[in-house]
């Protein structure tokens, strides 16, 4: 069955600095079903880490648990060394975790500008918020043009930009991205990932869930493959890209 956690750690190599985000021996149940079965991973500041795996492997559940929407049954989640796995979602956002959810989930009846404003609801530095808003309009000019339009009238790609912008408005220490390419035309997917690459260059730390393995590994520094709630493979993006067979095997459950 699955490779124990030791093996991935050995692949990754120990880093001396305390990671920004550390998930330790996490277990999450949905009713009687175990969705996450003892996952450990870490994200160092400035790093982009991809979370790969088939549908139902537990990727979204992991992000939801980090955000506090789902409570773990066991294990710990540390942000900068501070335990956050028992805190309410609003506190976790204030501590610096922003979550750009699957399916975008923008507030359709609110305008683009109002969506961005709510993204910064946890912040008090008004000047910084205004500057960040302009930065996001510069990043996605179409959002600036449509700032007074209800978000529900935007196209899927524009809504994804808005969801990303809304998450960035929290000025997060770590950005959780759940399938940013889902349901988008290839051109828009490229645009979104180009933006993510710019954010990475700016030093934004990301934990990225993505079905598109190529895109994810091009952007990420490291990746974990989840299968049925366990880490089945982990390594640097470069190594994993060079060994597709191992990744495919980790997806499908054959022994690597």
């Amino acid at each position: 069955m699955a490779t124990p956690e030791r093996a991935p750690d050995a692949l990754v190599g120990k880093q001396s600095a305390e990671p920004l985000l550390r998930v330790a021996e996490l277990r999450v149940n949905y009713g009687a079903v175990a969705a996450i079965r003892g996952v450990s991973l870490k994200v160092t500041a400035g790093e982009v880490v991809a979370l790969l795996g088939a549908n139902g492997a537990g990727k979204s559940t992991l992000l939801r648990t980090v955000s506090g929407l789902t409570r773990p049954r066991a294990g710990r989640i540390l942000l900068g060394g501070e335990a956050i796995h028992r805190l309410p979602p609003a506190r976790i956002v204030r501590l610096g975790v922003a979550h750009c959810p699957e399916g975008r989930r923008v507030f359709g009846t609110l305008t683009v500008a109002e969506n961005l404003r709510l993204g910064a609801a946890a912040r008090v530095d008004r000047a910084g918020v205004a500057a960040d808003r302009e930065r996001i309009y510069a990043m996605f000019p179409i959002l600036g043009e449509r700032r007074t339009q209800p978000a529900g009238t935007l196209s899927g790609g524009e809504q994804q930009m808005l969801a990303l912008g809304r998450a960035l408005m929290a000025r997060p220490r770590v950005l959780l991205l759940d399938e940013p390419s889902l349901g988008l035309a290839p051109l828009l997917v490229r645009q979104i990932f180009r933006t993510l690459a710019e954010l990475k260059a700016d030093g934004v730390t990301m934990l990225l869930v993505e079905q598109n393995i190529n895109l994810a590994l091009d952007l990420a520094d490291r990746a974990y493959v989840l299968r049925t709630g366990e880490v089945s493979l982990a390594g640097s993006a470069v190594d994993l890209k060079a060994d597709y067979e191992a990744v495919a095997a980790a997806y499908l459950g054959a022994r690597p």
Partner: protein, 300 residues
């Protein structure tokens, strides 16, 4: 009497009645929007507002201040009910919330009967409020309290409109009503938003109760029941959960009731409420989302 003036008179009546329905319906809709529960105890905040004003006046407080404090106590009662009765069962099946709110209604109304007895009491208002405006040789008549009802409702609605479009808490309330999960994700303090919704909704109901009592001249512990049902119909007509819908539905319902009494044969008038509730059934059957259908996102 000319038809134009008669119609004008009825429009005035409709706006006055519709204002009360709108005030109650908006609160009902706000609470439904954010908690997905029909708060049957909402009508009892009318009682709290009206009786508070009555008691405060009898204690010697000036009418205006009694109204202000009465609205505040209505809001406070709503917040307390949310904290004590609804928050512990939040997340339970909808029927649990529904039954809880029914229980709260019975408790509050019986508490009212216990304190004030079940018989009605006179609701004193300053004399000037009963003075009537007469236009066109008395063909159009309305009292100061009618005017005050419309004016205070307009102020309340204007303040609400500002609140839900210009403040973080107001925007957050709308966001939470649309997608509670996403509201959590962006870091909104949902408990605070729910408290704010109950405070505003119940304050509006308190104001409606005071105006209702002022127009009727009497208060009784079960006074909130009928307006609550009517407001419920109004909220459904407009689109339950939408503030604009509740506003529209409240005024439409006021207009409809006035229309039935003013323009249909007098034999029909006694069936006014039956017609209103038949309308509710018709809407639930054929247009359950109301006139202002909420935008449903296609979510991937």
């Amino acid at each position: 009497m000319s038809l134009e003036l008669y119609i004008t008179q009825q429009i005035i009546n409709a706006i006055s009645l519709g204002s009360l329905y709108a005030l109650v319906a908006i609160g009902l809709s706000m609470i439904f929007g954010i908690l997905r529960m029909t708060n049957f105890a909402h009508g009892d905040m009318m009682m709290v507002g009206a009786y508070s004003t009555l008691v405060l006046q009898s204690l010697g407080l000036d009418f205006g201040w009694a109204v202000v404090v009465g609205i505040g106590l209505g809001a406070l009662a709503g917040v307390i009910v949310e904290r004590v009765a609804y928050r512990p069962v939040r997340g339970a099946p909808e029927v649990t919330l529904l039954l809880t709110s029914l229980a709260v209604t019975y408790i509050l109304e019986n508490l009212g009967i216990l304190i004030f007895t079940s018989s009605g009491r006179n609701f004193p208002i300053p004399d000037w409020m009963n003075s009537a405006f007469q236009l066109f040789d008395g063909q159009i008549t309305f009292t100061q309290i009618n005017l005050l009802t419309v004016a205070l409702t307009a102020v309340a609605l204007g303040a609400l409109g500002w609140f839900v479009t210009r403040t973080d808490v107001g925007l957050g309330m709308r966001a939470a009503a649309e997608d509670m999960g996403a509201a959590h994700l962006v870091g909104l303090d949902v408990n605070r938003l729910i408290v704010a919704a109950f405070a505003i909704a119940s304050g509006f109901a308190g104001l409606a109760g005071i105006l209702w009592a002022a127009q009727a001249g009497v208060v009784e512990p079960t006074m909130g029941f009928t307006p609550l049902l009517k407001a419920f119909v109004g909220a459904i007509i407009g689109g339950f959960g939408s503030i604009a819908g509740a506003l529209l539905g409240g005024y439409l319902l006021g207009a409809l009731e006035v229309l039935i009494v003013a323009f249909l044969p007098s034999e029909v008038s006694p069936y006014r409420d039956a017609i209103v509730f038949a309308l509710l059934i018709a809407f639930l059957l054929f247009r359950p989302n109301g006139l202002l259908k909420r935008v449903q996102e296609v979510k991937l």
